[in-house]
Symmetry: C3
Subunit: 439 residues, 3 copies
């Protein structure tokens, strides 16, 4: 791996820390500021789509921006203050500025009674309303009859903003990575995904790649719909894809499969997770969750899975103020980064070979590829060599061989490289694709 | 469900009670009388096929009728009396009227030593003989040297009788139901099947149906062979079929699959049983049992499974006098009825839809189909909506979607109905089939 | 089974005992002598291929012969003597005759520290070297500074020798059996295979066979490569094949599948092992082990599995002096023989029938094939009859029927023979193949 300008682990961590305080939403200056900061690391194209643009069954909503918000008692004490946490305001709240009885205010307060000191995260993008998300303990202490509420927001004609990076490889077939960038101060969901994928992109830009790679940093749901609607001519190139989310929590890695269920990306991820020797989970596709819903809709039907650590709703901190900088772990972020890099390496190097000596085994001994005193066991590497030779019949890719043999993908790739050097394998389609990215 | 002329449960129960005393066999007046009584409830066509008619490898046997039978001691005491139970005589016994030594009579007596107070049920349709079936305890008390035996039966040219009801639907494709009607006083096997299917037919006649339905009430083996041989031109219309038997015992529901094993009827029954949340059994096809043997023979090969509660030979009361009116349960009969009705509803409503907004998800919120405050879980119904939308690609029927999603068929059907109302689904084959039978 | 000239069990045992002392290798007089002895039992063709002959990626090596070898102390005491065990010399050792320090000799000694009284078996066919295999306990007792070592061997132009027997059947399609004959005094690996297959061949020669059979007795690896390279025109005839090895140890039977994994031979062996009611193991193909490596190489790809008792490396006696005449059991040898004979019988008799009365069941009763008093269970034979009738649709072989029904192959074969006698089955392809070998 070439020397990084900024060390990888601190780069990822710093990016998350920098982005954490920003109040993001599906539109507005929070996303713009986020993408501008990421642009210091990778040459993102920042795209602005006007309010009202029709995208399939949807249209781009008005742009939302917020400057301040609070609840005060009539003595002027701030009970709830947006400046303390941008989660305090229901995302996309319309402006409000009035004194109202607590009995009415109560209907605009969202709490988590089971976690009385946590602030929930709530949104209302498509129905005009306003509200505050507050610690349940604080609401319980509100005894006055009336309060002043103020939300200094605007909901107006403007734009939806997203970021895109295209890294050309030697062929037009591409791998699509997509992250949602619309959540305010939530660290695991999804600053972890944003930061890991930013640094993955930075690394891939330094390599000679077989596939082209596209990184999308888009607001959830409407952002991926906007991109898909605006780029229908590019969809035919997308051969593999991943949503990256929740990459920093302490849980094991989980992979939610594509709608197809046995696409190459499904099999590639499973092979890498299996080879890791660490616990992992596989989840069949279901039409809910993150933007895989859009990529896997029946008319789009791209092979896009979702790689994550703990799935949404399966950790109590999910969509609360407890999903903060203390919740995520450096080792989880780095493990996620390296596993995704291994998946990229598999996609880059997976190919189908022909054994040039397919009639019986070639004599490995005369090429120095075989131990000479018979009678004891073959080593694992020896078995990798023999499996590649046996299945290099033009019908089995290295990934097919890994699945059938139980050998690790990495050992088979090394075996194939060695056999290529000895002219015992050949590629017949004339392609000069990369031999993987040498993870 | 429309108002029934006779309440369903008492109707089924009364029919069984009325039919129970009649001495049925594969031919003769017992079957005729049975079908005549059923004709008071549904407009059965009663068909008579003459003795000697060739039907495939078989021919219609002589008609058997019996008026009386007994074993008397020489003092004139009736030891065994046909009037007590029609099981006492081996079905299809030839006439006999003589005094014989007990040592000879013994060879004509059938008992159940393990259940000394039960009378077994035995037949000898295709080999001329006579015999009595007697409680083992009673045989043990027979100490005389000689007895008078009398069987006042006839075995003569006549007819085989069966009942048929055809309910036309909007297409010629049909669902075939078949019950055997040849057993004498046995309640579960198969008065339970006869009564449940009679009332199912009565109900289906009140509905607008997509498929046509055919109900056969036929003597076992020879009856289904007669029908198949006489109706070869109709077989191409049979798309789904069920044998209905043993529907009243207290056991769980079992389904024996068709020879094909994965026909739509196999999958429909499994979905309904799975959705019920109650225990059930699935049995792979084997070429023994009831008339599924004939319907699934290699030259016929119709997708006809067998729905039952406890399979033959798996309850000790099977084919004995203990399979009487006390053995069957109203709740079992009603549960069987409703499960079969649910299967019919599935077949009627199972279809393949096209999502009219297949590019990304349609915006459910603007149609009032989505809850507005994000951040919490989708309900089950929400998931049914999303699954139907995701798989409404013209390749997946509702049943396919149920199998893949794990959602209940009923919830998916409701979701599809709702999406159709909002023009989010369409049917492209121009058919105006029923939306199910609104069970 | 016809009367054997020599009783089977003693014949197999005597052949092993006779062959045990001979020092075999992949070339040389030991293999010649072995084949000459076998020729007293079956009319083997003995083939000689000159050193240097190119065979695919290999070439026939120089011929190795050995007359004597020992290690002496300088007082003239023989510490290690080839005459005690031909395992003492590393197979294919070059000649040596000198006095060397123990510190140098040590590098040429092979031992088994975990079994200090056993002699290991080692070879070095393709790298010129010399060595002795010695009990670890004996090496520990060697305290002198210098020893005399002598190996009176030759490595010179000559031939590779193998044996072949072709038994013509009524068609050219053939079953290939292959055994390696290159191991010196090792009883289970593979004198057990050699002897069992010699007597199987002797038996098959007495029968009228459907398939042709080819028995190969070849040196491991290079021998099968030689045969394959010299007989490429015959490969298209090979429909089924087995490597036979380790047939005498006390372990259960194991079958290592072909590279295809579901060839008829894979399914035939599994059916026979399942039907035996005894424990057995199934092993997926992997490209290591015995000559199945060559037969299953990608350019050859013949359906050749490997039948054995305990696999190589899974018994401590493997490739040591403890694999001696005491290690193998008469009952294991006979069980192996009979199971392979049952596999041959299955291959010979497996065919696809047509039910001549496919419309409903034929009336078995009028043909005396059905018990007459109804109401009790069908026996297993009855079920075999019904299964054959049900699946005799031209799509299911007897083996297919065995797999689907769970009935034993033997009972289905008997049922099919009975149904053929009653003209209820027919064969439509006009072939007059054998009805199996009446094991």
């Amino acid at each position: 791996m070439k020397t990084e300008k900024v060390p990888l682990e601190s780069g990822i961590r710093d990016l998350i820390t920098t982005l954490y305080p920003i109040c993001r939403s599906i539109t507005g200056d929070g996303v713009r500021e986020t993408l501008r900061i990421m642009k210091n690391i990778i040459p993102l194209e920042i795209v602005e789509i006007p309010t009202g643009t029709k995208v399939f069954d949807w249209e781009v909503p008005r742009e939302w921006n917020i400057r301040d918000a609070y609840i005060k008692d009539l003595k002027g004490n701030k009970i709830v203050d947006f400046k303390d946490s941008n989660l305090h305001v229901v995302n996309y709240s319309i402006p409000v500025d009035k004194i109202i009885p607590f009995s009415e205010l109560k209907n605009h307060l969202h709490t988590l009674p089971e976690y009385p000191d946590w602030i929930p995260y709530r949104t209302s993008y498509y129905k005009e309303t306003w509200g505050f998300c507050v610690q349940d303990s604080r609401v319980k202490s509100m005894k006055d009859e009336e309060y002043e509420v103020k939300i200094d927001s605007t909901l107006a004609e403007g734009h939806l903003t997203y970021g895109e990076l295209y890294i050309p490889g030697s062929i037009k077939d591409e791998v699509l990575f997509s992250c949602h960038v619309c959540h305010p101060s939530l660290a695991n969901d999804n600053l972890s995904g944003i930061a890991v994928m930013t640094y993955l992109a930075r690394h891939l830009m330094t390599l000679k790649l077989h596939y082209s790679y596209r990184f999308l940093f888009v607001p959830g749901t409407i952002g991926s719909i906007v991109w898909l609607a605006s780029n229908q001519d590019k969809l035919k190139n997308v051969k593999h894809g991943l949503i990256a989310v929740n990459l920093g929590d302490p849980g094991k890695i989980n992979f939610k499969k594509t709608r197809l269920g046995n696409a190459e990306i499904d099999r590639a991820v499973e092979a890498i997770l299996r080879d890791s020797g660490q616990p992992y989970g596989l989840i069949d596709f279901f039409p809910y969750g993150y933007d895989e819903r859009q990529y896997n809709s029946p008319g789009i039907n791209l092979p896009v899975g979702c790689i994550m650590r703990t799935p949404h709703n399966q950790f109590p901190e999910y969509h609360t103020s407890a999903d903060n900088l203390d919740f995520i772990r450096a080792e989880s972020l780095m493990d996620s980064y390296h596993k995704i890099l291994n998946i990229v390496d598999l996609l880059e190097s997976n190919r189908t070979y022909f054994n040039t000596q397919p009639y019986c085994e070639p004599q490995l001994g005369k090429r120095g590829l075989y131990r000479h005193i018979g009678g004891s066991n073959a080593t694992v590497d020896q078995m990798a060599l023999l499996w590649v030779l046996n299945l290099a019949d033009g019908f089995h890719s290295l990934l097919d061989i890994a699945e059938r043999s139980g050998e690790s993908y990495e050992s088979l790739k090394k075996a194939a490289d060695l056999l290529l050097q000895h002219d015992l394998l050949e590629v017949r389609d004339g392609e000069s694709r990369s031999k993987g990215i040498q993870v």
